[in-house]
Symmetry: D3
Subunit: 251 residues, 6 copies
């Protein structure tokens, strides 16, 4: 039993509130246990300079935390005047992951700006961001599609993420909260698509290592957790969008 | 009648949700119409270098907006690498206003860090921040007092703020929303204490001016609105804290 | 009696030296007691990107202090690599104030860059900057008008500023010097136009408050002081420019 | 056959020149095909503030490229005034990987600064940096040990890294050069220790995904390549250091 | 004859106004033709970290230009967020030159901060800064000496600087103004001490070169000009300080 | 005899390895004693904005050191977020010097980017950079000429640099290494062209001065050293390029 009474392979309670804000084209508040992230999607009718003239779109993401999302107050990155390595790593990961399920050619020369702002952190903020961002992005893109601006549906598959890890007692667990994460020997973030393929596998031992067998167990735990997340996403995006994605996959 | 059917001197609906986040010592979500701000208060057991050794405390504030708090996405200040003049002006105002009602000597060598993060903006974000920040700060300070770390109660009076302005048709109005604000000739932010005194009066004509008589009307509108805000704050902080403040004022 | 033997509502000695530098289109050295500011105006034949194509002009201001303008040497903002909140607040105020008396449409797609560099500081540097900048700007714009580049005179009215405050002994005073300013309970900067209207009213209690009655006295002191400043400006800009402004006002 | 006539699971030619520079405590030039990286290790007799007083050491890494390490000239990060996300990600990876094989307690309150400067790039610069940095670090730590400053040997195991990937034709390949890397669907960096455990597994599909079976083949290719790298490292660090590491592992 | 009717080896009119500002320990306005620089000296009772504990003092300089010191407005370095290479070069030169005539041991652990702010530029701003800064620094140090804080007089000799150059017609000239400077093939700045020794010789051909013979003529022109500058400095610092310097030299 | 057994006017051993890297249009590793610098030249088919439309080219240089080029590790300028004054001074010097021997009109609207990266430092890094950069630049420009893109040969003359100085015992020496440089009273860098003319003469006394006679000796030492450097450059660039330069000079 884990300290919060979960099974090894049990996710924390998930909630995805859609249309959370009035201004963005897509917005959700995703809650994973005590972790809460506001994810928004903005559609811009142009692409960055390096993409121009190719007829393709782009998806980019930014990530931040409120100073008191955490137990100790963090100095704002705007006050420091620069973005930390951790933030850069996370926002590059989110953007890259989302691009794996977007048909950039169907999108045309448009950019999707995804913003993930953590208002409360208790471990797993980057994976919650990906899972929530997929919903916000799909809602925004669904509107663009409904406005008849696109000839093809731009979302190719579902996309969700979770963390897995190996605790100090060698237990392999799913969806680590902050206490578990800070004591784990190995921490792994996995991003998968609805058809069961991997998009990202990032496993790290901080002053520790892990064997081939342990890696297999970590992958298995992640697969179980992520298939559950897809159910939450399916309900959040609604039947029409879900059907469009399934139709796209079957082609 | 105003475009959202309010009277000239009518506030938008106000809501103050307390204990909004689990980590900070004080936290509220304040809602003023469609404007929503998360205000948190953090107690740090030291003061900035320029204050050390004086036996007094300090209150400082930071302010930010999520990129999609607004109709158009704003570039993050962390991505720009610097804080805009507007943000600096606002966070200096919030800190200065709060310090007017804190007994810094009673606080001892402690800093209160107040963070105001606008998650949705529809005009009046700086005044909503001040009104909400007062509640978050009072909750945090009340806990410090209850922990018997202070010999005297550190909050001297209530503090709230609103905006008033002169619309294009010369109507003097209370609590401008974004549409009104962007068309107004004169914009004024007023911060007052529970005993009816002014802390800040900041009136500005952008490519316009205002007469002595108009200034008197603006002040009157603000007084009416702010006295209503005090009632919301009183309920939010709870009877015990409210009684302590009244007791402090009567001395 | 004040510590420098002035009456409560008495300004310090004022001097405005015009054509102070050879390169700028307009330049003055304004002296208010021991406060000395070099104000220059530069005409640029284009507007910032956000203004383009509207057929209107723009006025923008920058403010700085020499490191030894003050009793203690200040670190240069260029050495810090960023502009402080105080500087931003002041330069935004100067620009906004000047724009209130410029007919931006008459100006056409031109920018007036106003630079206020404090070479010696003894309180009231922002209000001296505004009063001096008005003269430098008017001289520069008068030349543009004389060069027959504008169909209408671009300056709509006089503009001057002063500070007022409440000292520790509750005395309301005009034009605070540094010693008074650092001890005052309330500090207020007022910007007015030649026809007696307000452009900016910024009153602040630092760890203090002020009543409605005190506010009225502060406004009255400011009105008296500013009307005297207009006389100095009138002499500085010369008869021809003064007549053009009066003619413009009477329309 | 690959475009440079290598087998799928064949590394490029490897060379590790030790004592490459006269000043650093450890320095190598590692050559992997056309990729060349100067790796240096510096011993500092203190730890960063967050580590002080724990009796433990720290290993940190920095990574950079000369502007013309690549086919197109890159703007220097010093000229930009900031470090890119890619550089941050890489230098965090190198530091974290090295810490997995250092006995930080045996090191005492010392920091090892590892600098990896790519002078010529042809794919795989981050993995070449890790493989070379291990040798430079071990040489530097071996000297500290020989100077009798440490009671225990501080290096716990060998550490090397390589890249594996899936080309456009679905071929799984080892040690991608730049041309392969820029066309690959999946790119994976693997860091392993001498005893066959994983330290980092970072697999990424850029606008692509990979199956569970493909992941297994990628891991296998990496294991083969890395075991060959250990032989080069063993020769580079010399018999005495290699024996000390083996002795440490056997405990 | 030069375009302003000077002889080849003739300086522009020089004026050194001392005690120009009320706050600094030493301050002058130096005027060289149309070039005007405010030079101030500040005494700080400590040295920078790299000098501590050696019982010696330090002299450092900063240099800046007002935006409209020149014909075209320059963007402020504070607005750019960084100091240009030209400014760095000049302020390093000023500091180094002044240190050549200061007895840093006699100064004790004190820093002299010299600030040179160009309010009007017409060529030769760096050499005018050095010549003026010497006077401001000597005045400040003379006060420290008179306050009996130093056992020995800290100024070892006079120090002045000028520019020489070769015009397009191969004429060697002294003290170039802006028009001459912008057309010259060779530009040279020379700093000398009262006893006729060189401190700095910086000659540069921009897309041009100069012969050994030309170099000799440039040095001769500089020597003549600088000996004249010493007379102006002698009057500016006053008899008492001048006598102290001569006494120090004769030892 | 000097501490490394050289004569006063003897250079350290010189080596210039050409085609050192595969990507740049020109690249050398220059070795001067223990000082080693990688110099590369990149041809860009456009000029900076301030040069456009003039039909002329530009040459610009950047300079950097690896962190462990020196005995103590230096913090990277990219980590500091800004370039030091020393680096700026050096890279401005390199660019200016190279431009003196390039026929910018023959070059057409192209930029030569020269990068000098010091991988090992033992004094004289800026002069070694100039000497090596000339070779890298000439190789790159020779290729452009051979590609028939230029109607005239763009290199007008040879260009090399060395340092001279006065040691503590008043000995005038050529090509100072780090130990000599750090103890010298006077340090002078001289850049000359193949026809014996000066491009730069930068002599500096740090807390010291030098006489007219000493200056003459310094110049003589530099002339001897530089004529030897030209022989190394002649061999490095090859007969064809050397002949082209001689032909250009003779016109």
């Amino acid at each position: 039993m884990r300290h919060d009474e979960r099974e090894s392979f049990q996710l924390r309670p998930i909630q995805i509130d859609t249309d959370y804000l009035i201004h963005p084209e897509g917005s959700v508040l995703i809650t994973v246990g005590n972790t809460k992230v506001i994810c928004t999607a903005t559609i811009e009718e142009k692409v960055p300079p390096f993409m121009r003239g190719q007829g393709k779109g782009w998806v980019t993401a930014e990530y931040s935390m409120l100073p008191r999302a955490t137990g100790q107050r963090n100095i704002r990155e705007s006050a420091k005047g620069k973005i930390t390595g951790r933030t850069m790593e996370i926002q590059r990961l989110i953007g890259r992951a989302l691009r794996a399920v977007v048909d950039l050619e169907a999108l045309g020369e448009r950019t999707v700006w995804v913003d993930c702002d953590v208002i409360q952190a208790d471990g797993g903020t980057r994976t919650a961001s990906i899972t929530g961002a997929f919903v916000a992005m799909t809602q925004a893109l669904h509107k663009v599609y409904k406005d008849r601006k696109l000839s093809k549906y731009p979302v190719k598959d579902f996309l969700a993420a979770t963390s897995v890890g190996i605790l100090e007692d060698n237990e392999v667990v799913l969806d680590l909260n902050y206490i578990e994460d800070s004591q784990a020997n190995v921490d792994m973030n996995i991003v998968m698509t609805g058809n069961g393929e991997f998009v990202e596998v990032q496993g790290t031992g901080e002053e520790a290592t892990f064997s081939y067998d342990q890696l297999q167990q970590l992958l298995k735990a992640a697969q179980e957790g992520i298939s559950e997340l897809f159910e939450h996403q399916r309900m959040a995006i609604g039947e029409e969008a879900a059907a469009k994605i399934e139709e796209k996959k079957s082609k």
